[in-house]
């Protein structure tokens, strides 16, 4: 039987100190996989990945600290992506519907957002794999915000 530590009444315990159970690892990893799948299915519609991660967060918010922490990090990681992709999406629609012309600024933004999307995709895969192993993959900035929001 697998053993794990329970930190009772320790609000400031670090996420790294938590030893998750097998089902926790699976659920926490699912948060990242959910956003990955949502990105792949609903790539042209940037709202879909945020919605999917949001729904998964609401489903997991009554879960354990490990699951909550990872679902919040997954959710936060989708917010900037949602904003950037939304701008790109509506800009593209405006070009396609001829309300504005294609420009170098649009292409520059397209490349920048794609670089960010690739970075986000790689980090999400790494997080999903690490979480499944029971490890914590900390994202720059997002993990700091998650630490602040998610208390035990």
């Amino acid at each position: 039987m697998e053993s794990y530590e329970i930190h009772v009444n320790e609000r400031d315990v670090r996420i790294e100190d938590v030893v998750p159970r097998e089902d926790e690892k699976e659920r926490a990893s699912g948060c990242y996989i959910m956003s990955l799948v949502a990105v792949m299915i609903g790539l042209p519609m940037p709202i879909i990945n945020l919605l999917a991660t949001g729904i998964f967060y609401f489903m997991s918010r009554k879960g354990t600290f490990f699951v909550r922490w990872n679902s919040i990090q997954a959710l936060i990681s989708q917010v900037p992506l949602f904003i950037m992709n939304n701008i790109l999406f509506w800009w593209t629609i405006r070009i396609l519907f001829c309300f504005t012309d294609l420009s170098s600024v649009y292409i520059a933004y397209f490349f920048t957002v794609n670089i960010y999307n690739i970075y986000d995709f790689i980090e999400t895969v790494r997080s999903a794999v690490s979480t499944r192993k029971g490890l914590i993959h900390r994202w720059y900035l997002y993990s700091t915000i998650t630490d602040k929001i998610c208390k035990r």
């Binding site: 001829c98 309300f99 420009s103 170098s104 520059a108 920048t112 915000i145």
Partner: protein
């Protein structure tokens, strides 16, 4: 909180630095792209579909006089003939419209209704002014997207429906101010080719008296527009002339029966 702010600033700076670097490249030049490439490509595609629904008239008695009128108009107004493609379409609807790819479609029913070459010139000048002033371009490009969506939704390209949609929606999307502007420019085109510009006003009034609903629906307030032309002042440029002989004009009318 300070840590979050610091990390946020670093992340934002990194993002904007990448954006700034990519901004330094002239991508349009690098990929040989035109700013209007999307609309132009769609317009091309729509034109190919719309073209198939037209009954092009290749009769020499029809094409030659129309070409002569357009040639004289282009010559007098420094317009390249290559920039305008005139197509005479066998159709019972009294209509003429400018559409994608600088095409100017004139229906045979319209030619049949015209009493003289000046009236026909007025219609051609008005539509050519729309093309030259860029009124059609944006409307056409937007219409092209609507047509593409229509085709995708319906699953096939009913080109006749598409052609009708194209002319109707483009005409309706042109505002009254633009119609007046096209009338004014058209009248100047006629004046430059030594044709009485007041024929533009007479043509508009005649359309109303004919009760040609299709044309009036698309080009509302013909009376007001005619009055606007009548108020315009044109410098005297000698006697007005006729481009086509009476015989050629009658042949043209007969060929359009």
């Amino acid at each position: 909180m300070k840590k979050i702010l610091k990390e946020f600033l670093i992340s934002a700076s990194l993002f904007f630095s990448i954006f700034y670097v990519t901004l330094q490249v002239d991508w349009m030049k690098l990929f040989h792209l035109q700013p209007t490439i999307v609309g132009d490509k769609l317009s091309e595609w729509v034109w190919k579909m719309a073209e198939s629904s037209l009954w092009k008239v290749n009769n020499h008695d029809v094409c030659a006089p129309i070409d002569s009128l357009v040639y004289e108009m282009c010559k007098a107004n420094d317009i390249s003939m290559a920039d305008v493609h005139i197509i005479v379409n066998r159709d019972n609807e009294v209509n003429a419209y400018a559409t994608v790819g600088n095409h100017l479609i004139i229906n045979t029913a319209l030619i049949k209704k015209m009493e003289n070459e000046s009236q026909l010139c007025a219609v051609i000048a008005h539509e050519m002014a729309h093309l030259r002033l860029g009124h059609i371009k944006s409307a056409v490009r937007q219409q092209a997207v609507i047509t593409v969506l229509f085709t995708l939704i319906s699953g096939n390209g009913h080109s006749e429906v598409l052609a009708n949609l194209t002319s109707k929606i483009i005409s309706n999307s042109i505002t009254r101010a633009k119609e007046n502007e096209a009338d004014e420019h058209g009248a100047h085109y006629m004046h430059a080719m030594h044709i009485n510009p007041m024929e533009m006003a007479s043509t508009l009034e005649k359309f109303e008296s004919y009760g040609i609903l299709s044309y009036l629906m698309d080009h509302a307030d013909s009376k007001k527009r005619a009055a606007h032309i009548r108020k315009m002042h044109f410098p005297d440029n000698g006697p007005y002339r006729k481009i086509l002989s009476q015989e050629t004009w009658e042949k043209l009318k007969r060929a359009c029966q």
